[in-house]
């Protein structure tokens, strides 16, 4: 069953940045790309469960603040060790200046 939830307003995230979004006891990361698209992944790094919201977005890469593991946040693909397991991604839609995420 689809479950679209409002995560934030579009301006809550700077360009090429991310914020943390907590919902139903889970943590997500919502991204705004350099070309103004929005994406969502799990909020914790698959390596050691560190919050990605403290990391650095470079183009379409999120770098984990703990050991510099990297993921492509569009696909969740792990790009640099020690991050080896992909991140889960979630559909995102933008409506009336609000960002919605389809969570479970």
């Amino acid at each position: 069953m689809s479950n679209w939830t409002r995560a934030c307003a579009v301006d809550d995230i700077e360009e090429e940045d991310l914020i943390r979004f907590d919902h139903n006891g889970r943590t997500y990361a919502v991204y705004r790309s350099p070309s103004d698209e929005y994406f969502c992944t799990d909020g914790l790094c698959t390596h050691e469960q560190v919050h990605l919201a403290d990391g650095l977005v470079m183009d379409y890469i999120i770098e984990c603040p703990m050991h510099n593991g990297q993921f492509d946040y569009r696909t969740g693909k792990a790009m640099r060790s020690p991050a080896c397991v992909d991140l889960r991604t979630y559909p995102v839609r933008v409506e009336n200046g609000q960002v919605f995420v389809e969570v479970e």
């Binding site: 469960q49 990391g55 770098e63 050991h67 020690p82």
Partner: protein, 358 residues
């Protein structure tokens, strides 16, 4: 009163003191506004290339000087300077590129990472994972594989290692072992399965290059090839080891606060260049995302929340050596770094069997 010998802890990752470390969220970070932190974390290919280009350029030029002066007494100062760029310069660059923070472009980090790893005799795969653990569990006994001075610390070992005699020979031994596809129990703790084959193959390549250099030396009946590749990792790395020994020696173990288990030491510009600003060690551990060229700015940002930096390496050694001497008798002794009055307190933490007394 008892005459019982003090019990020193088991620093192996599979021994009796091996227990879970701290949760990532337990480690203290000095507060920095997100906007500022983003500026500090920014990578620059230009800055990375200027620094590393200069380093490679100076290594090549001084290497040519060594070749040109070989056979005369001038070869001694030439080797001295070349060795510093090769042996000491590579060790810090291995570290920086391992974090992937030097260049914005990923492949540039990788190229310099592999080159500097070879020059400092390190296996790039094994060390990436060992260093990952070092950042997760900095100076946590039974967790951190990179505790350079386990108690009781060896002062003699520290000085003989200026010529890389302790850890460099260990790296050679490791190179041979990994070439044969063998890992120790400790290494198995942190090197994941999928990274083992590339680790083994890289060691084989490193070993083949070193053996070829030995072969060329024998064939030409000259030490020169070995003085250019291989031996400078030993005779030239003293500056790196001299500076790096101050990172954590004599400080607290099992404490999730890098302000109290690491040192920030002011250095002259030449030493900072060779050492890639790793003298800002508290800052590096607290925010490993910040590239080395921005660490002085990060230091300015958080210094009021940290113990005072040491004015020089000599100042750090003045504190370290007596503390290490005392640790040879008393395993519970360590240097308590003073936090400034306005600093945030060290976090409350619980890890069984050891209590940090403030």
């Amino acid at each position: 009163m008892t005459d019982e010998a003090p019990r020193f802890r088991d620093y192996s990752l599979t021994g009796i003191d091996a227990r879970p470390g701290f949760e990532p969220g337990q480690w203290y970070s000095s507060p920095i506004p997100r906007k500022r932190l983003k500026q500090l974390m920014r990578r620059s290919d230009r800055k990375g290339l200027i620094n590393n280009g200069l380093w490679i350029g100076l290594t090549v030029v001084t290497g040519c000087l060594l070749v040109a002066t070989w056979g005369s007494w001038w070869a001694l100062p030439a080797a001295f300077v070349y060795g510093i760029f090769y042996g000491s310069g590579a060790d810090s660059r291995w570290h920086e590129c391992g974090h992937g923070t030097v260049f914005k472009t990923r492949w540039l980090n990788n190229v310099f990472y592999h080159l500097a790893s070879f020059m400092s005799l390190k296996n790039p795969y094994l060390w990436r994972w060992s260093h990952t653990r070092h950042h997760t569990d900095t100076i946590v006994v039974g967790r951190d594989p990179e505790i350079a001075f386990p108690r009781p610390p060896s002062i003699l070992g520290m000085f003989t290692n200026l010529l890389y005699l302790r850890s460099g020979l260990k790296e050679f031994d490791r190179m041979i072992r990994l070439s044969l596809g063998r890992l120790t129990d400790d290494e198995k703790q942190y090197l994941i399965e999928s990274e083992r084959p590339p680790a083994f193959w890289t060691s084989r390549v490193h070993l083949a290059v070193h053996l070829s250099v030995v072969g060329v030396s024998i064939w030409t009946q000259s030490w020169l090839p070995l003085m250019l590749i291989g031996l400078p990792s030993f005779y030239g790395s003293w500056l790196h080891h001299l500076l790096a020994a101050t990172q954590h020696a004599g400080l607290a173990e099992d404490l999730p606060d890098h302000r109290l288990n690491s040192r920030t030491v002011y250095l002259n510009p030449f030493f900072s260049f060779i050492y890639s600003n790793m003298n800002y060690h508290v800052e590096h551990h607290m925010y490993p995302m910040v590239p080395f060229y921005t660490l002085p700015e990060l230091h300015e940002e958080i210094k009021n929340d940290c113990p005072p930096a040491y004015s020089s390496s000599i100042a750090a050694y003045r504190e370290m050596i007596p503390a290490m001497l005392r640790q040879r008798r008393d395993p519970n002794h360590f240097v308590r770094r003073p936090l400034p009055e306005q600093a945030n307190p060290t976090p409350h933490y619980v890890r069984p069997q050891f209590v940090y007394a403030t």
